[in-house]
Symmetry: D2
Subunit: 156 residues, 4 copies
Amino acid sequence: MSTTVSPHFEPKDADFAVRVRASFALQGAMGTLGARLGAIEAGLVEVLLDWAPGLTQQHGFLHAGMVATALDSACGYAGFTLMPADAGILTIEYKINLMAPAKGQQFRMVGQVIKPGRTITVTEGRAFAIDQGREKLIATMAATLMTITGRDDVKN
Amino acid sequence: MSTTVSPHFEPKDADFAVRVRASFALQGAMGTLGARLGAIEAGLVEVLLDWAPGLTQQHGFLHAGMVATALDSACGYAGFTLMPADAGILTIEYKINLMAPAKGQQFRMVGQVIKPGRTITVTEGRAFAIDQGREKLIATMAATLMTITGRDDVKN
Amino acid sequence: MSTTVSPHFEPKDADFAVRVRASFALQGAMGTLGARLGAIEAGLVEVLLDWAPGLTQQHGFLHAGMVATALDSACGYAGFTLMPADAGILTIEYKINLMAPAKGQQFRMVGQVIKPGRTITVTEGRAFAIDQGREKLIATMAATLMTITGRDDVKN
Amino acid sequence: MSTTVSPHFEPKDADFAVRVRASFALQGAMGTLGARLGAIEAGLVEVLLDWAPGLTQQHGFLHAGMVATALDSACGYAGFTLMPADAGILTIEYKINLMAPAKGQQFRMVGQVIKPGRTITVTEGRAFAIDQGREKLIATMAATLMTITGRDDVKN
């Protein structure tokens, strides 16, 4: 009861990892952050990030906005892994709880699908800071995505 | 009844604008985004941003994470204007609704205090895209802030 | 800039108030709460509530869940006023900030549409407690709604 | 990586279950809902609920507000299990994602602490509908709580 095991999801398109990598590469913001993809599974995507002076808040820690940006990407691409090949994806909304300062040298964001749907997909994210080799949970996210089909302007 | 007028707030420290500018200047992330401060009033702060290729998502619009980062800053500094001179501020959580693609050349984020408090302050934000001179509401935020006193590591 | 005026919305169905009243009357939970409708405009709905011993939390104030239930209804029906006559509505998610104890004899919840859409509608809500005749803001909500057409099981 | 195991928390007061039951019994709203406590562990509380005609929305399913009320209680009391004996608790805010209609005869809400803190505690909740003996996830919640000490009016 006190354990949540990630459910097994069946992807609609076997090439989901290729689609995720292609879309990620088009995001200028991910390049600016120096973010890169880690694990890509059906319903789960990791985004990895290193500390850099251009990503800080006023105390020198990683800016919460950078945490949220990378975590939102992880959630969005987690949803994207389960969508049809011709679908685009929009984040309708997300909510983030910032539980500890983003103090560390590396950061690992994990997005997971909780409930896939034809129109609406619900995801959750966890952000971890790795400080001197120790990993700590620093933020949680709940993000709601919408699948878009038949619109070229939002095809990923 | 269908109109919300911003309440009048009494700042605890008359030099709040100086404190906001000093803290903002320390944020490496704001420099990376090219974000700058607009209006600074008691309980209200504007953050301004220009489109740039390093801030985009896969369709070339401003990345939702950049919208959220600038809007979160506007909300946080809105709360900061009403805090005592020696206080630091932490964003506990925020929620953002993304209502339209961030399509435009300039962006204006407005953060406003809804309810200040000794420990907890509630703020709301509005993000506007300016496209060919026309301003459009693209996102709303609700952010919860905590005032921190007596801790040097989170003094702004 | 520091003032938000409710935008003017054009309803798709002139009989929206009739539809709101009919749907509201079918909700057993609204009867249990003793909630009733106040103003019904295009894009705005009020829900009114009185204190009762069966609606309290452990200190005798109105339970936050009752505040949220009535406020969620106000937001949902605000969205419903702008939908086509044959549409149903689902709340996808909401977020509530509880800013003060719900101390009072009467309560007024106001839901307003911020951005209507064919599929997704974004709304905001304000809950007020009326204590000895003085009205106080006690909670704010952001709620995301989905319009459903062609499904009898969710037709309102 | 794709599995979340509930962390082990050390309660500050060994009699936490007694405190939870005493506070729960004082909530008139829980009586109106017919809600009752299930498991009470350090950092985890279950709230159980049966379908009743006075708890319905317009299609006869459990009203989302009733789901949220019981789930918010589960989250709040989960946080309460880890607080000192003389502390009170306030829900600052919560966010709920409604993923499926609350169709069923019984409902089980589970609240769990993600990050306890001296002032701020972050919790997550899961709501399940039990329909003809089959349990289905219908909602997730993220709730932020504040510990209050030295104030009689919010002592639980």
